[in-house]
Amino acid sequence: MPIQKTQISRFKLLLGAVVGIIGLSVLFLLAMNVVRDLRLLTSANSDNVQWTLSQAEVEFLEYRLALGIASVRKEPDLDQIRQEFDIFYSRIITLDQASNYEGLRSLPEFSRNLEIVKAFIFRAAQVIDGTDEEFAQALPELLIITREARAGVRTMSNSGLVFFAQDSDIRRTKIAFTLIQMALVVAFLLAALVVLVVYLNNLNIQNIRRRSEVVQINDRIKVVTSTALDAVIVTDSHGRIRDFNSAAEQIFGYAANDAIGNDVGALIVPDYLREAHNKGMQQLRKNGERHVVGMGRIKMDGKRANGAIIPLEFAVQSAMTEEGEIFIAFLRDISHRVKAEQDLVSARDRAVAGEKSKTDFLATMSHEIRTPLNGLLGNLSLLRETRLSAKQFRYIRNMETSGRLLMSHISDVLDITKYDAGKLRLRPISMNISALLQDIVDSQSGAAIANDTELDWNWNGPSVDWISADRDRIQHILMNVVGNAVKFTRNGRVTVEVEIINDSADVCELQFIISDTGIGMDSELQSQIFDDFMTGDSSYDREVGGTGLGLGIAQRFVKALGGTIEVESILGEGSAFCIRFPVKAIAPPEAVMQSIARARKSPASNILLVEDNEINRMVAREMLTAAGHKVTEARNGQIAVDLAETEHFDLILMDISMPVLDGREATRAIRAGQGPSSQTPIIALTANAMAEEQAAFRNDGMNDILTKPLTQKGLIRIVSNHVAHKIGKTQTLAPESPELSQTISTAYLEDLRATLGVKPLQSLLDRFITETDEIMDELCDHAHHPLAEIAATAHRLAGSAAALGALDLRTALVTVEQAAKAHDTARLVAAIDTLPKIWTTTRPLMQAERRRTSRTDA
């Protein structure tokens, strides 16, 4: 914990300071003591006592000597005596009064003798202070008392000796004490010095260790950067390179020595980025604006020494140092990665292109094969309507079944493509499963009889007839498996058993067991039969024929239905296929269907049929006229466009691939034109079921698509849908009954959703709603826009509305467009006035459609 460490070291520092201050204070006090003591020693508060005492004795003796001399002379020198006495007197008074002799005076013996001497001098003074005559007469007496005082002076002087000894002792002790104090101070100082030395030594050791650590870390960092695979470039805030590791040398082709000190921009930034780089550095220095630093990984081009541009990925970080901010850039040469990415992209593009060309090929092939087949089937269909014997009728039915099977083979190829591309869509319809099984058994019975094989089917347990399921797929699966069983069985028996398993509320799972007593398969073959182009024993194949795709497709379809297909077989004894998939059981719809068919029965309509293939054209015409419609034929798109210019049709059936002008071009021309049929529903006739193209047709202005081969049922349904719808819509345009309007075609949108996918349709609807919101404003503000612009805008939006099934809106917009083009302002205003109301109704419906993910959600 760094915080705790800091606190501890702070505490240590404080403690050290306190101890240091206390130590210094003690040292200072001690030193002051010593200095004071030393000063006391120099400034003695006494002069030499011993000398004074002996001086007193000397002066006494001098006085006595003068007195002695005077007493033997005739004319004694009295002044001499007086002077000597005064000197002695002065000495004794000093001894008696001086402060520095207090210690001496405290000695009893000294003070007693001092008193004796004082008594003597006072008495002597009385004599001496008299006149010369009196003094001369008293000399003998003075001699006597002076002699008597001698002992006192002597004793007083001697008694001082004791004091000298004591005084010396005290002085010596004092000096000794002072010296001890001094020694203590010195010792203390020494100790402090030792502590300081130890401390400094520790500090030094620590510093050395830290320094070596720093050196080690530096070395390590150097090793790391120099061996790093990424280039590491360190610059200062002016872009001068300060470090350039060996990876940088390799990537950029400069030696570190040449690079260091140079401007990083001039060295490694490509010319076209140089200006931006310099500007960036300037901004950085000026106001710390960062575009690159600390922004994570960035991809940018770099320049090598030889001028080559290389893609780089780099990250820049900054750090503050004593010499200002530095920037550390880690750069990686991603040439290889970029190349790999490009390779990958081009590989993918090639693969996609390959896939597309395959799809295109298959689509074209299926179209080319289906067109003549359609003719065949159409003629069979017509033939069946003629007077026939029962035998002939059966043959025709068998031919039809086989023809359809052939058609379905072609569809198979497309289905495999679709399934593998994830585009296979189920088309559930109401169907009778029992009827389907009977149909299949019937169609295969010929082959079975030829092989002397019994073929039958039955329900195992309770049965269900009507289900909602993708009839085509189920038929394909069962036909394939049953067909195989019949193919590989001689003199045996093929049985189809159907059973309802796992019956719940509205979903029941059907199980089909197709067992035969045929040749069977070994386990190796069993594991391969669902593979594509698996044809089993080649010699036998030649005998029985087959594409080898059948079971592969069957398996795909079963999976698409959400079911399973399994096989059990013993070589030489037979095989059993078990197929399970869920279906939706429904009530028998027959009566309802019939009533719907009747209800939908269209009024006689005027139909333009555009088809280049004569047989197909004839078939379609026959079917339509049989239903009571009037048919006008056109061999190609151009004829159709011309006809539509002059005549009104209730419906146009438009083939796509045609000479002169194809169906899409023709449709666009009709829609763009002003003719009476420019708004007539146009139905695409195509054998090409590719989803992408279907969307394209609708964009061209086609209203629906009818897939070839044409069936009477399909044709009639289409006609009734569009013509009836048209009539209904015409009625809804009347303002009295707007609620009857089919504002949007949900069925069409559902188709579109199935075609385009949920997500793309959502985004289309989003765009459409936003776009329409804007254009509505623009159109309502028509007074400020030229008519040509309004016409163009209305046309554009009408196209969008048509493409997304907003039928009312489209109709209204077309009216707007026409009025604008005709410069009919009154009509234009009236038409535009209807727009907001229609959009108010349409918008929430479109939004609801946008939220819908599929029809079943409704």
Partner: protein, 168 residues
């Protein structure tokens, strides 16, 4: 300017200076101090002799201080040593002071400074007798300056002073 007049002025000035330098009158009363040796100003033979009146006439200083030889603080009045040294034109290094009892001590001229020792002739406003360490006592301002409270200075504090010899 008249040359004669110029010389006259110059001469007058010199005479005046000479007169000041040798204006030490002969002592009238009893001599209490005799300064001999290397001195510029004399009045009796080669010496400068002073009676009390002459000393009184000179610049004086008064200060109070305690001494180790007396009781309590005393007031001393006297001629500062530096004044005496200057007035006698003494230029040597040392003064040898001698007391009536022939106690002698060498005092360096460097002691003769302002606020330094004085030749005290009055203590507490009274002339000092021989018995009171008079007539002259070289007193340092002990209380004023710690440097004056040393044994050396105490030994220089000569009392009953009557002779000074200026040594070269």
């Amino acid at each position: 300017m008249n040359r004669a007049l110029f010389y006259a002025v110059v001469m007058t000035v010199f005479t005046a200076i000479a007169a000041t330098a040798q204006a030490l009158p002969a002592p009238a009363g009893p001599v209490i101090l005799t300064v001999s040796g290397d001195i510029d100003v004399t009045n009796v033979d080669d010496t400068a002799q002073f009676d009390l009146a002459m000393l009184n006439a000179m610049d004086s200083t008064t200060f109070s201080t305690s001494t180790i030889w007396t009781k309590g603080t005393r007031s001393f009045k006297g001629v500062p040593l530096n004044v005496l040294v200057e007035s006698l034109g003494i230029e040597g290094e040392t003064l040898r002071a001698t007391a009536v009892n022939d106690y002698a001590i060498d005092i360096p001229i460097s002691d003769a400074v302002q606020n330094g020792p004085i030749l005290a002739y009055e203590m507490d406003g009274r002339t000092m007798t021989l018995r009171d360490k008079g007539p002259l006592w070289l007193v340092y301002p002990y209380d004023l300056n710690a440097n004056y409270r040393t044994e050396v200075i105490y030994s220089r504090s000569i009392w009953q002073l009557d002779r000074i010899t200026a040594l070269k």
